[in-house]
């Protein structure tokens, strides 16, 4: 399994050098409960919410034998994700060996040092981005 982040049709690609030890996709529904006076609460089914995923890992400052990619080091990754934020464009996350392949927006990107190793620990929160196509026809 590998995790790829890319922008603008694979113009730039990041393959995560260290995989997070776990991830979960949040996939919700906006349903509403409705208080009727004859039957009590009933549930009205709403629409799906945007999916979200959060990745927690680190960008290495030095070479470790377990790295899955050595294209960039440490702060280069951070700078790249920061520059993606500036571009205000959706990015794409692909997790191989899973069906996950989803256009996303960066909701938050927290990073910093924590244990003297120099490695940059981060939490990257992504939220689904839906492309909208308006259906047009002449009348």
């Amino acid at each position: 399994m590998d995790i790829f982040l890319s922008i603008n049709n694979r113009q730039k690609i990041i393959k995560l050098p260290v995989l997070p030890k776990e991830f979960k996709v949040q996939s919700g529904m906006k349903n509403e409960a409705y208080d009727t006076i004859s039957q009590g609460e009933i549930k009205l089914i709403g629409m799906p919410t945007l999916k979200a995923i959060s990745l927690q890992s680190f960008f290495p400052m030095k070479d470790y034998p377990f790295l899955r990619d050595r294209t960039y080091t440490g702060w280069e990754y951070v700078e790249m994700i920061e520059s993606w934020k500036e571009r205000r464009e959706p990015i794409r996350i692909i997790i191989t060996d899973t069906p996950i392949n989803m256009p996303c927006t960066i909701e938050s990107f927290d990073y910093g040092l924590q244990d003297g190793s120099g490695d940059i620990y981060y939490t990257l929160s992504l939220s689904e981005f839906k492309f909208i196509n308006l259906d047009q026809r002449s009348v």
């Binding site: 906006k30 009933i42 464009e89 981005f129 047009q136 026809r137 002449s138």
Partner: protein, 326 residues
């Protein structure tokens, strides 16, 4: 699923994916329906361009067409969603004034000639068997139509309902349309009656506007004469005398008794205002009749829908109904 279409420059665009809140309403006292919606706005380059503009044609469809009208108002506030207000073609009748003189013209013919002058397409107009002899000067067109229907109601006792369907105006007898409103909890579940899922019922009863005695008068050369009167003694004994005086033209004297009787029938009752919230059904519009059986506040029988606000948000359709006695 409700879908909203914008039509401009001969292109129809389905704008539903951009719409957050959808709300449409009708009121029995107003000719014409209103639709409000908001459209998401963003300046990122993947975001579609908003095709809606003032004057564009907007169509709301679900199983069938629900609303067709013109964008009248646009509201922008920073980067918030842009809100639009639309009215159906009756808007032009509500905002235009006219001068009309009718001399013994049959009610429906009078209305037809007005509608033709304003190019409002006519679906059908029920026969209105009253002779209209009146001069309308500097009056809103919709008020002229309502006045004609009011004269008809006073003389014949028949109530009429006006509504636009598929861009055409229909005037029909009020009792002609008893609807059965249903909703589905999910697409694969059998429909339920909306009145089985009532939320927040309120009921107000009042004799504030009751009239249990009607006097019809005419004035001729400064002499006022009572032509006829109608009374409901049962109501007078119970609630006290509440009297209304209506003056009519000399030429209408032949109708005086009918007018008195019909006014008494219309006003000689306890007025009721009921409000309920229920899941949505597209067929519910003001002027139609709904059967309600609600034990808590005690609504039972057929009720006239006086006003209704439909809301679709987040894929959930609800409505607020005002119900009056027929």
């Amino acid at each position: 699923m409700h879908e909203l279409f914008n039509i401009s420059n001969n292109v129809q665009t389905n704008i539903t994916p951009l719409v957050g809140l959808l709300q449409w309403s009708s009121n029995i006292n107003e000719l014409g329906e209103r639709l409000d919606f908001d459209i998401a706005y963003n300046d990122d380059r993947y975001f579609p361009k908003n095709p809606v503009d003032i004057g564009n044609l907007i169509i709301l469809r679900n199983q069938g067409e629900i609303f067709r009208g013109i964008v009248i108002t646009e509201n922008k506030a920073g980067k918030d969603p842009i809100t639009y207000t639309c009215f159906d073609y009756a808007f032009y009748l509500n905002k235009s004034k006219g001068i009309y003189q009718f001399n013994k013209v049959k009610g429906n013919k009078a209305i037809e000639s007005i509608l033709n002058d304003f190019n409002v397409p006519i679906g059908s107009i029920a026969p209105i068997n009253v002779a209209i002899s009146k001069i309308y000067n500097d009056k809103y067109i919709s008020d002229i139509i309502k006045d004609i229907l009011d004269i008809a109601q006073k003389e014949t006792g028949i109530k009429y309902r006006m509504e636009m369907r598929l861009g055409k105006l229909y005037i029909e007898k009020q009792t002609d349309l008893i609807i059965k409103a249903t909703f589905k909890l999910a697409s694969n579940i059998a429909p339920n009656n909306v009145t089985d899922a009532i939320f927040n019922p309120t009921k107000r009863r009042t004799i504030e506007d009751m009239k249990n005695s009607i006097k019809i008068i005419t004035t001729n050369n400064d002499k006022t004469k009572i032509v006829t009167e109608a009374k409901d003694n049962g109501l007078i004994n119970k609630y006290g005398l509440l009297q209304e005086v209506k003056s009519i033209d000399k030429k209408d004297i032949a109708q005086a008794k009918n007018i008195a009787q019909n006014m008494l029938k219309d006003l000689g009752k306890i007025f009721e205002e009921n409000n309920i919230e229920v899941p949505g059904d597209d067929s519910v519009r003001a002027g139609r009749i709904l059967e309600v059986n609600e034990q808590v506040t005690g609504m039972k029988g057929n009720y006239l829908i006086t006003d209704v606000i439909h809301t679709v948000k987040n894929g959930i359709h609800r409505m607020k109904l005002g119900l009056g006695v027929i």
